[in-house]
Amino acid sequence: MRKKSLMMLLLVMPLFYVACSGGKTENNASTEPTEGPTTTTETADASSYDPKRGEGKYDEKNVDVTKFDAALAGQGKKVAETKCLSCHKMTDEKLVGPGWKGVTQRRLPHWIMNFITNPDPMIDKDPEVQAQLELCLVRMPNQNLAENEAREILEYMRQNDGAK
């Protein structure tokens, strides 16, 4: 069984890369509904991509994690149960996507918020996310998180990693 899926994986991968690079404009089209699909300069230019920060509206200035907020984390749990936990476990075990244990140690807080609110461009550009995609083969869907929901989920992840 395992062997078979590995073979499938090998077969699918070359196709997948093609689909991925071609998918770039497609993804942009879905966020740019006013005109026909266009390639925005912002997302097309991979050289300007900062793998530490990710891509999106968050940076170290607008994500404050100096204090832990248990109420916020509680909210985050609720949102995650609806929008995330079908695919992610709270342990380090992979389900559809990677387990969440330790994610706040591996990634900066604003990188996490950028990724969960703006996954498509980051899947296309972030070398580590690309490597992850080769393992999971499912692009993390955009779950349309509101700003507050993204912050709440971050707090829940921090709690899961021991923040107090």
Binding site: A29, S86, C87, V138, P141
Partner: protein
Amino acid sequence: MITKKIAVGLLAVAAVYFTSCKPKGSSSAVSGDAASKTYVAPGKYDEFYNFVSGGFSGQLSVYGLPSGRLLRVIPVFSVDPEKGWGYSEETKPMLNTSHGFVPWDDLHHVEMSMTDAMPNGKWVFVNGNNTPRLARVDLKTFRTAEIIELPNSGGNHSSPFGTENSEYIVAGTRFSVPADTDNGDVPINTYKQNFKGHISFVSVNKDNGEMNIAFQLKTPGVNFDLARTGKGKSSGWFFFSTYNTEQANTLLEVNASKNDKDFIMAVNWKKAEEYIKAGKGKKQSVRYAHNKFNEETHTATSEIKNEVTVLDVAEFPDIVYMIPCPKSPHGCDVNPTGEYIVGSGKLAALLPVFSFEKIQKAIADKAFEAEKYNGIPVIKYEAALYGEVQKPGLGPLHTEFDAEGNAYTSFFVSSEVVKWNVKDLKIIDRKPTYYSVGHLMVPGGNTKKPYGKYLVAYNKITKDRYLPTGPELSQSAQLFDISGEKMQLILDFPTIGEPHYAQAVPADLIKNNQVKIFEIAKNKHPYVAKGEGETKVVREGNKVHVYITAVRSHFAPDNIEGVKMGDEVYFHVTNLEQDWDVPHGFGVKGANNGELLIMPGETTTLKWVPDRVGIFPIYCTDFCSALHQEMQGYVRVSPKGSNVPLTWSLGDKK
């Protein structure tokens, strides 16, 4: 819509037509730059949405113009197993009527919702001709949001034309019948005594679109064909074409074609509204279904209503006037200023153009025929007439307008579209269609300021236009460029069902308002599972409710045991995705049912009554990810009385 008589006429004409007219046909009609005019490059968008009636398919199709690409088929009156329409528990009530569940209808005409006689892009209204109904499609979701049945009606053909601000959508019966409150068990040949026409004025709530039958006009028994609102100058009036003013009940082909002139019926609806407000209408006890889809519960409800208010027009002398119009008119189309009304008598050899000002003067001067028609004053033809377009073609059906003062009329029998000037009534251009055009459409051609640019002819006969596909061919639509003085044929494209009327509006009116997902937090479906933590299987007697979620790429739960023979299983599938264009599908082996197609954030229910003991696969039908083929599960069905406990699971989770 097209009588047999015309079909017979067509055969006669067609014989001549194919031999004499064909050589100068398609090749000479298309010039070299046609391709560039219809080419929409990959990834680019069309300029117009074209909402095209699906005729006997019962559905509404959406094409892009100028490409002619089919963008969507919206199920309205007919079941559509592909989309679960009429199959899911949530959508079944949409097709309920006073006759019970009716899975099909015949959709003829479309009408965009309007503000100040211009489309506002909110809704499109469509009619069901068979079991008389009116539907409203929401253009944020491209789904049917509401269907209302029409009492006292034999077939809703003269519909869904609307007033300048969509205050009312009208619904005139094609087949006059005894009123629902009268004894209908009468000899058919008592048509003249017992059969009546009814025209419903259905009000539309400006904010949420909700429809209600505000009142009905009871008229003499005739056939109502098409209608148009007055606008601008003729604001407050409505015009209906009638035929079978002979009141025949058999062989209408002959017996309804005897009179030289039938009527365009002019209705002062503002006046009718005043009478209704003054309490002059009679309340009647009737039965009709009113079905609404709720976007928060993702569920439709069907309510049977019991009352309608009726005004008998013979009792109110200043609501309705008949205008003689040769011969069995189909279209009665009002030009952009509202001054001119063009009657298209489908058996006539000329096109009368009536003047609203002259009609008003004739009413003021009482320029009526000596004899009333069933109690209704008949305006003298000459007193209402602005002029006639002479020798326009054979079998005129329907007219639309551009913003430059021109009219475009379709001719079924001579198979052509003709451009003429409304002021001087002179013909400017004529082009053949392939073959036998019914309705035609200019974007905004029914509004006060047509967008123009294109004309689409919706043809009834296809013959040799496409690669043959057995005895039946899809009906052809033909796109003309009308930006110049002469019309230019630039594209053929196939359609679904049989297109009758259509409307087109600029894409910008609609494309930026699209709902891309349903917010899962706002999902109020009683069986929603907002996350896998809320999934479960609940037994209530012999009913088994499965609260199941779908996400790329698994169902939760995906193993279910403890279902027994005699059970009714309800799969309530919640799509947890919150990403555009990621529906999941759901199919069950052996279910006497369609599939589900569940939009992101939505909950939809499939009922399944297992017919045998065994293991039944379930799976996602809509390719969702690289692991879509893994998106599957099993349901175990045990014999009645078995002691297999009800369990459900996913992976190692219970």
